[in-house]
Each structure stands twice: as structure tokens, then as C-alpha cells.
């Protein structure tokens, strides 16, 4: 089993000029079982991105360990795919070359690669766009390319940092369904950071609400909506009374945290 485990994870940034230390994260402990979908919510600056970057291996924690299955994480790796807020696509390459980037880097057989790219472009709904330059795509299409690029590498864990943040409401809803479908079909472990409470509720099988100063997991939920979303329209789920109840609860929670921050300033 390739569970993702974080133990006593802490991260302190020290400003090299002033020497002031920021406790971006403190004592984070959790285990994400294989195939779980986790969404992370929290006020700005509570350390969500930092947490994700540490799992991806871009930054090293000041204390604690992260491991995927039996191996400790010590740097970036193909088994942890990443989707950024703004595609981070290679604008000098057309769509297909973006998608097969990972395959080319590990020198996969060209024929297999072409077939894989076809398959994933199909799944994310971009069949026929292989030769289009990425800068000619809309924001939603670009995010789908980013998803395909990540998935083609067949990672165990997919890490997403506000992947839908820059999209308009309708595109966003479509993309949310796509994420749910992909989750169901591939059975991947997914960790998704979002600013939207609704999105977190809809997508998160599990949900962490984080709190700042020091960054920590404030409250954890287990939610049924992601499962429901696979069968039901997302719009219907949003009408659900339980959904709105939890939404209000979390909104109040985050509102209070923000109040605290503002009051502190």
C-alpha cells in the first residue's frame, strides 16, 4: 500500500535579513490512504502551499518526516504529480508535447507515448488539440492539459494547488466533475488545495480546515459528497441541506480566523 504519511511535520521560515522566524507549519500529523481524496481549506497564509510543496519534495521540512508507502520523501519524484494554479505549461511546446513531456524525459518508446497521449487527451476532452500551441488555449483547457500531463506519468499521488482558482464558475464546475471522474477511474490519491469552501466540500472525501500562526490542522471532516457527486449532478448536491449546514459552519470558522488575523494586525 502506498499511503502518504506525515509525522510531526514542521516548517519554519527564517527571514535572512531580519532573522525573524515564521512558523509556517507546526506538528502536522496525518495519513492519507491510497485512493483517498483530500481537500485542504484555510485562510490565506496558513501554510497550505508549504505543506503541498513539502510533499512534492520542493522544500525540505525543518522537522518531521513524510513518507509515501515505505520510502521517505527527499525530493521531487514522478510518483507525486503536481498541478499548479496557472498551468505552468511549457508555452513553447504544443499540447501533445506538453503532455508527453514526462514520457520523453524517461525516453519511453515513441509509439507507446503517442498512444498514451491520445488516451489522456481523450479523457480530459481535448482530442484533436495535440498540435495546438498551449497559449492559444483557454484557461480551462490549459488546466486540462496540465492534468493530462500529470496523469500520463501515472503518479501514485496527485497534488493540486488551487488548480481551478483562475477559472470562471461554469468551467470550474465542469472541471470539478472531471476531477471526480478521474479520481474514480484511476483510483489515485489526490490532495487538492482550494480557496472555495464549496469546492472543498464537493471534492473532498476528507477535508482539512487549517489555521494559521502556527499553521496547523484545525479541524478534519469526512464527507459523503464526493461519492455522491459521482452519481448525482453537483448542482443538486449543493442544494442538499447537510451540505449548506457544513458550508456555513466552515465559513464561520474561517471567518473567525480571518477576524483574528485582522485584529492582530
Amino acid at each position: 500500500m502506498t499511503d502518504l504519511t506525515c509525522t510531526n511535520l514542521s516548517m519554519t521560515f527564517t527571514n535572512p535579513q531580519t532573522g525573524a522566524a515564521v512558523e509556517a507549519l507546526k506538528d502536522i500529523n496525518f495519513t492519507l490512504k491510497q485512493g483517498e481524496l483530500l481537500s485542504v481549506l484555510g485562510p490565506s497564509g496558513c501554510g497550505k502551499t508549504t505543506l503541498l510543496n513539502m510533499i512534492a519534495g520542493f522544500v525540505n521540512p525543518t522537522a518531521g518526516t513524510i513518507s509515501l508507502g515505505d520510502t521517505a520523501i527527499e525530493g521531487p519524484g514522478v510518483e507525486r504529480g503536481m498541478v499548479f494554479q496557472q498551468g505552468a505549461l511549457f508555452e513553447w511546446l504544443p499540447v501533445a508535447k506538453n503532455v508527453d513531456f514526462g514520457l520523453r524525459m524517461k525516453k519511453q518508446d515513441e509509439k507507446e507515448a503517442v498512444a498514451l497521449v491520445e488516451k489522456w487527451l481523450d479523457i480530459v476532452g481535448l482530442q484533436g488539440f495535440g498540435d495546438t500551441p498551449t497559449y492559444q488555449l483557454s484557461g480551462g483547457m490549459q488546466q486540462r492539459v496540465a492534468l493530462a500531463r500529470c496523469l500520463v506519468n501515472d503518479p501514485d499521488v496527485i497534488l493540486m494547488d488551487e488548480p481551478l482558482g483562475a477559472l470562471d464558475a461554469l468551467t470550474r464546475e465542469k472541471m470539478q466533475s472531471l476531477v471526480l471522474e478521474l479520481w474514480k477511474e484511476t483510483g489515485k490519491t489526490i490532495m487538492i488545495i482550494t480557496h472555495s469552501v464549496e469546492e472543498a466540500l464537493l471534492l473532498g472525501e476528507r477535508l482539512f480546515v487549517m489555521a494559521p500562526r502556527p499553521g496547523r490542522i484545525h479541524k478534519e471532516y469526512r464527507l459523503p459528497f464526493a461519492e455522491q457527486g459521482l452519481k448525482q449532478s453537483l448542482r443538486d448536491i449543493k442544494q442538499d441541506s447537510k451540505f449548506s449546514e457544513i458550508r456555513e459552519e466552515i465559513l464561520t470558522m474561517i471567518w473567525n480566523m480571518e477576524e483574528e488575523i485582522m485584529g492582530g494586525v
Partner: protein
């Protein structure tokens, strides 16, 4: 064909000027109409307001060309092809009577005599005030003062009309009468005058180096030419004329004797060397002023008055006969007119340093003619042509002989019977020395190619070394910190400041210039590649790490393409700077290249050639830039869209 075009350039210009005026008028009309029509299409400040408007481009270009045609005197030459020749004849008259004019308040404020008196009196006053009493005995001092005083009296004697010798009065009156006759000759007109066959054979204005034909080509010109000869002899008479006065003669003799005694006393003076020298210097200064006034060049103003009037009348009658020529001179030949000096008539003002458009084209065609043997090209080299290039020469240039030394094997030695059988290595050495014929390839040649070649080689080397270093400096702490001081120290030095040093080290051949340009290109390429590399978005780097790329792969597939826009912009800038530096470097030293042509043209004041080289450089620079813009557009369509 070219011959004919060259011969008929005045006619061609006349046609072009009319075409330009029409295109100016038409485009201006279209432009004004369009402006009224579209006045409310966009609000002020909307960038769309600058779009389109070819008619204004036509209008501007026509106006610019017309200004060029006008100020270079080409309009004048086109429509009044003989005017300059006639004005040249007038200039001859002016040259002839210039000694007389110089003595009169003509073209200046005072009589020359007045000027002389003012200057010499002032100097006498200051000499008197500065009389060094300690150097001279009391008796000598009073003698010096008397010399000074008598010099003043000589001036007074020459200035006094009453003490004038009637002889000299009469000579002046005669001269005045001669000028009156000359005026009548002028006013009698030029009927019956004909240009000489020799004059008609002269090359036309602008066809050869001599700008304006010297011999008169029109009856009026012949008249002026004749008059100028007569005026010249009158002026010679005037120059021999002296003011005479018995009173002055007496004073001059007396003063001369006194100066002589003073000089004799000096030659016997005892004392230190400086003492004697100072005495001599003072006496000499006094004598110098005396000599200036003792030669009878000071006349009473009344004495010169009749001549003054006659010369003025003469000039007026010349102006009369000139008629419309004066108008053409002032309107169509802007500047300071035409001056006759020694053996030629030269244009003064813009007509001199601003070559006529058709002359520029003619000079350019002459330069561009690849047939060096029949006067094409410049200094034995074509402007831009091709030649057969021996491959062995290229090998010789690129393969250093020492490379062969490092190869295994040994060079041969001569054998016992006194012969030499080359080994394989000997043959390799001959190859490296360019001694083995390998055939030839066609290659560009000429001044322009030489300049281009230098820039291209330097750019190539600059890119080859600069881009990798720049990229590594963009990603590595070691590379950045290690090379930063070096590059930041040499980069701000203006390239031409290096030139004397580098040309000394490498010599004036291509190597020095190429190295100089390489330094320029290298710094720019390093900086731009570095900016491009370090500007790669962190998220792209992270994404490629997560996609399993190795460091080398990230460099090659992410950082390099990311830096490409910066690199290409760097190349564009570097080419521009190299081009500017090259031309200046070629002016410092060398025997080929566009800058070389301009440098030679400068030393012989060949303004047409200077302008031709300026135009060539401008056009080539523009072509470089257009090419780079095209390359940038084609190769990085994604620029600024990441």
C-alpha cells in the same frame, strides 16, 4: 546605360523633383481629407489613432527628399544648369577686385588705412607706457620716445590730404577712371560673345570631381570672364600704388637713422645675456611698428574716395548685368554662394557637404560595379561581389599548426642520399599550412562582405561561448558569483575604449576587430542568456522536476527554450552594437570594410562617398534588424504569452 544616366543626371533630377512635388501634394491632400473623415473615429490617445496612414509616410518621404534635393543644390542644378557656371564667372570678378575691396569699406566696416592706424596707434601707446627705463640710459630712453613719437607723426603725415604728393592723387584718379571705363564695358552687354570650343568640352557640373565648370559656357559668362581679367590687372596696379608725402619721407629717413644708432648701441651693450636680449627685444618691437607704417599703405580717406565710388559703381553694374542670376543664387543655391579660389569654383554651404541625391546614386553605382579593373569598387576591392575561395586557405586559417605537432608520429628527416621523403605527419602539416590544394568554393567578397564577415564571426563566437555561460550563470551559484565580477567589470567599458589596446595586441587585420566585436557580443549574450535563464518561472521548473526530468534535461528542455526570447533579443541588440563598433574600429585601422571607405573619404573630404557609406551602413543596420525581428517572430511565437 549607366553612362547615359550619369551624364543626364541634371535632367533626371528635374523629372524626379516634379514627381516628388506631385506626390507630396497628392499625399498631403489625401492625408488632410482622411484626417477630417476620421477625426472622430477614435478618441485622442487611442493607439488605433497611429495605425495605417501610408499617405503620411509618402508625404514625409517626399518632403524629406525634396529638402535633400533643395539644400544639396540639386534643384538649382536641375533647372538652371548653367547658372552656377555664370555665377562662377562673377566670382572670378570678385576674386579679381578683392584686394581693392579689402582696402575699402566694402564687405568690411573700415578703410584698411583706418584699421592700420587704430591698431598701430594702440600698440605704440602700450609700448610707450611699457618703456623699460632700467634697461636703457636716459639718453637712449629719450631717443626711443622720439622714435615712437616720430612714428606717430609719420602716420599723421600719411593721413593728411594736404601733405599728399599730387602724383599719388593722380594715380588714384586714373585708376578710378579705368574702373569707370570697365563699368561701361560691362553695361555694354554681351552681344557677340561666344564661349570657346574648349569651354564647351568641359565636363558637366557634378560629373567629375571638379564641381562647377570653370570656363564660361554662356555669352554673359564670357563677358564676366573678360571683365575679370581686366579687373585683375587694375587690381595689380592698385597693389603697387603707394601713398606719397614729402613730410613723411623726411620723418622716415630721420627715424631710420635713429633706430640704426639704437641698434648699434645694442650690439655694443655690456651685461648679462638676458639684459642684452631684453634691450634688443624692445627696440625690435618699436622698429616693427615703424616698418608697418613706412611703406605708404596709409592713405587719407579723401584720397581713396573717388576710387571707392568707382569700384562701387563697377560692382553695381556687374550686379545689373547679372540680373536674375542673383535671384537664382540666393533662392536655389542656398548657402554662401560660389567662391572662385585658385583653380576651381566651389560650392559653399550645404551644396558643399550635402551631396546631390543623383550624385550619391552615381557614386554608389560606381562603387557597386564589381569590375575593379575598369574603375569599379573602391581601392581595388569590390563593394559586394563573390570570388573563388581556396578551401586550403580556410583550413590554414582554422587549423593551427601546433595541433599537428600534438598528433602521434614524427616528422621526417632527410636521408643519406640528400633527399627528403615526407612522412604522413609531414603531409598533415602541409595540409594545416594550406599548402595542399583542396579545390575552391564560391564565396562572397568585397568591402561590405568584409564588414559583415567580421560581425558574423564575432556574433557566432559570442553566441557559442556567451549563451552557455549565461545559462549556467542563471542557474548556478558558483558560475554566477565566479564570473559576475569579471563580466560586470569589462562590460560597461565602451567597446571603442578597448580598441587601441586590442588592435595593438592582435594587429590591424581581421583578428583584432573580430576579437573586439566578440567582446561586445559575448558580454551582451551572457547577460541576456542569464536574464532569460534566471527568469524561468519556478512553477515550470518544479513541474518538470515532478515529471521526472533530470537537471540536464531541465537545462536543455525547459530553461533554454525559456531563455530563447531573451537570447534572441540579445542577439538583436548585440548585432546592432557590433555593427556600430565595427564601423568605428574600421575607421581606426584596416584596409577594407565600409568604415575604411568612410575613413578614406573623410581624409580627402569626399562628401559624396561619406554619405554613400553612411547610407550603406544605415541600410545594412536596418536589414539586420528587420531580419532579426523576422527570426524572432518566426521562432518564438509564444513570446510574452507564457
Amino acid at each position: 546605360m549607366f553612362e547615359w544616366l550619369s551624364e543626364e543626371r541634371a535632367f533626371i533630377a528635374a523629372f524626379l523633383v516634379i514627381a516628388l512635388i506631385i506626390s507630396f501634394g497628392v499625399s498631403l491632400t489625401i492625408g488632410l481629407k482622411q484626417s477630417i473623415l476620421r477625426a472622430n473615429d477614435e478618441v485622442f490617445g487611442d493607439p488605433d489613432r497611429t495605425k495605417g496612414g501610408w499617405y503620411w509616410s509618402v508625404c514625409g518621404a517626399s518632403a524629406l527628399l525634396l529638402i535633400w534635393f533643395y539644400f544639396s543644390w540639386e534643384v538649382g542644378r536641375a533647372y538652371f544648369p548653367k547658372a552656377a557656371n555664370e555665377i562662377c564667372q562673377v566670382a572670378k570678378i570678385e576674386e579679381s577686385i578683392s584686394p581693392i575691396n579689402a582696402a575699402m569699406p566694402i564687405g568690411s566696416r573700415y578703410y584698411k588705412s583706418t584699421d592700420l592706424i587704430i591698431r598701430n596707434t594702440a600698440q605704440l601707446d602700450s609700448l610707450e607706457a611699457a618703456l623699460p627705463v632700467d634697461l636703457f640710459s636716459a639718453q637712449e630712453a629719450s631717443q626711443l620716445l622720439s622714435v615712437i613719437n616720430q612714428t606717430r607723426q609719420i602716420i599723421a603725415a600719411f593721413s593728411n590730404p594736404d601733405s599728399q604728393d599730387p602724383q599719388s592723387q593722380k594715380a588714384i584718379a586714373n585708376l578710378a577712371a579705368e574702373f569707370d571705363f570697365l563699368s561701361e564695358d560691362v553695361l555694354a552687354g554681351y552681344d557677340g560673345y561666344e564661349p570657346t570650343p574648349e569651354a564647351l568640352l568641359q565636363p558637366k557640373w557634378g560629373i567629375t570631381e571638379v564641381e562647377i565648370p570653370l570656363l564660361p559656357l554662356t555669352p554673359r559668362g564670357v563677358l564676366f570672364d573678360n571683365i575679370s581679367l581686366k579687373a585683375k590687372s587694375l587690381a595689380d596696379t592698385f597693389l603697387k600704388l603707394r601713398s606719397k608725402s614729402a613730410e613723411a619721407d623726411r620723418l622716415i629717413a630721420k627715424t631710420k637713422a635713429e633706430i640704426k644708432t639704437l641698434k648699434e648701441a645694442n650690439s655694443q651693450a655690456q651685461g648679462s645675456e638676458t639684459y642684452v636680449k631684453k634691450r634688443e627685444a624692445y627696440v625690435k618691437a618699436v622698429e616693427r611698428i615703424f616698418k608697418r607704417v613706412d611703406d605708404g599703405t596709409i592713405f587719407p580717406p579723401e584720397a581713396l574716395a573717388p576710387l571707392y565710388i568707382s569700384v562701387q559703381n563697377f560692382t553695381a553694374s556687374v550686379d545689373d548685368v547679372k540680373g536674375g542670376l542673383g535671384f537664382i543664387d540666393s533662392v536655389f543655391l542656398p548657402g554662401n554662394g560660389i567662391i572662385k579660389s585658385r583653380t576651381q569654383c566651389t560650392e559653399q554651404g550645404p551644396g558643399r557637404w550635402l551631396p546631390k541625391p543623383t550624385d550619391v546614386v552615381a557614386t554608389f553605382t560606381r562603387l557597386a560595379n564589381p569590375d575593379v579593373a575598369s574603375g569599379g569598387g573602391y581601392k581595388g576591392t569590390t563593394l559586394l561581389w563573390w570570388k573563388w575561395l581556396e578551401i586550403s586557405d580556410v583550413v590554414d586559417f582554422f587549423v593551427p599548426d601546433s595541433v599537428i605537432d600534438m598528433l602521434p608520429g614524427s616528422y621526417g628527416t632527410h636521408s643519406a642520399d640528400g633527399t627528403f621523403e615526407p612522412t604522413f605527419k609531414d603531409n598533415l602539416l602541409r595540409l594545416a599550412k594550406g599548402k595542399i590544394s583542396l579545390g575552391a568554393i564560391p564565396m562572397l567578397d568585397g568591402h561590405i562582405w568584409d564588414s559583415l564577415f567580421r560581425v558574423l564571426v564575432a556574433m557566432g563566437a559570442g553566441i557559442l561561448f556567451g549563451v552557455p555561460l549565461g545559462i549556467y550563470m542563471g542557474v548556478s551559484r558558483f558560475f554566477k558569483s565566479f564570473f559576475d565580477p569579471l563580466i560586470e567589470l569589462y562590460r560597461p567599458v565602451p567597446p571603442l575604449a578597448w580598441a587601441p589596446l586590442i588592435l595593438t595586441i592582435f594587429g590591424i587585420q581581421d583578428d583584432g576587430k573580430i576579437f573586439l566585436l566578440f567582446m561586445v557580443a559575448f558580454a551582451i549574450m551572457v547577460i541576456s542568456a542569464r536574464t532569460g535563464a534566471s527568469g524561468t518561472q519556478l512553477s515550470k521548473i518544479r513541474a518538470s522536476h515532478s515529471l521526472g526530468a533530470t537537471n540536464q534535461q531541465i537545462l536543455r528542455y525547459v530553461i533554454l527554450p525559456n531563455a530563447l526570447p531573451e537570447i534572441l533579443t540579445g542577439i538583436r541588440i548585440a548585432i546592432g552594437v557590433c555593427w556600430g563598433t565595427l564601423v568605428a574600429a574600421e575607421m581606426l585601422a584596416g584596409t577594407t570594410g565600409v568604415g575604411f571607405i568612410e575613413n578614406v573619404a573623410r581624409t580627402v573630404s569626399d562628401y559624396e562617398l561619406i554619405w554613400v557609406t553612411i547610407l550603406i551602413m544605415g541600410i545594412l543596420g536596418l536589414l539586420f534588424d528587420i531580419m532579426m525581428r523576422w527570426v524572432i517572430q518566426k521562432t518564438i511565437p509564444w513570446r510574452g504569452k507564457g
